[in-house]
Symmetry: C2
Subunit: 149 residues, 2 copies
């Protein structure tokens, strides 16, 4: 009954953040939950598109992201990727030419490029990194008081 536990947990999280626990949202969360790598919106549409309209999938991803139930990752592939919150958080090496991705574990930013490269199998050069913080500004925080998690 793992499925049920997971989906019950997702329902709770959704309601806690002021949203309805619809079956569409739970399906998306479950899909992200059982997938290790970050998925694009298209990946989700490929799997759930027959049950859920694509506009709805985009709307769901937007809400889940705003509420922090999922994380967005930018690989600079011209589309966003998403992964479930709470999963092992790590960074990525992304090739500026071919977009190839490699995971970067056990690495603070202070252990910089040289260290990352030393641990890398496939990369020979780091050109730059992106570090951005995503949060809620004070004026938006006033407008959406339910915003907990």
């Amino acid at each position: 009954m793992k499925e049920n536990n997971a989906s019950a947990k997702f329902s709770r999280l959704l309601r806690k953040s002021g949203h309805k626990a619809t079956s569409s949202r739970i399906s998306v969360l479950e899909m992200l939950g059982r997938t290790k790598r970050p998925l694009s919106a298209q990946d989700v549409i490929d799997e759930l598109g027959k049950k859920i309209n694509q506009a709805t999938i985009y709307r769901i991803l937007k809400v889940l992201k705003e509420k922090g139930l999922i994380r967005q990752i930018d690989f600079r592939h011209n589309h966003a990727h998403y992964e479930i919150s709470g999963s092992d958080e790590h960074h990525h090496l992304v090739c500026v030419y071919c977009g190839r991705i490699e995971d970067v574990h056990d690495c603070g930013i202070e252990n910089t490029y040289a260290l990352v490269l030393r641990h890398s199998k496939h990369f020979s050069d780091i050109r730059q990194h992106a570090l951005e913080f995503y949060g809620v500004c004070k004026s938006c925080n006033k407008k959406t008081p339910k915003t907990t998690q």
Copy 2:
């Protein structure tokens, strides 16, 4: 003769990385060079679009980015931003609701969320950050040996 110096420097950088120093490329570099904030492709098109075709502007941004002459920044606004390399590198706070941006100076990742928030005027909450490294994988490095800078 500041302009000439800058454009001569850009010419040198372009040739050094194996590309022609075309006037279009130099215009784009100069525009980014004299602008403090990161510009979107559309910003560049708005200013240079009469002289340079928009497909060309996208191609130029791609090359400059690959060669590391400019940096790409992802604000999650559904389009990329670019800034000239070598300019004061800093991070950003981006509101997940309205996209509002605030600069984050003097901050390593180790001085985490609490410290960033303490220095922030407009944000009340940080939900997540993105840290990605951008480099060249070994197989691409073989294919493009000229890749220096």
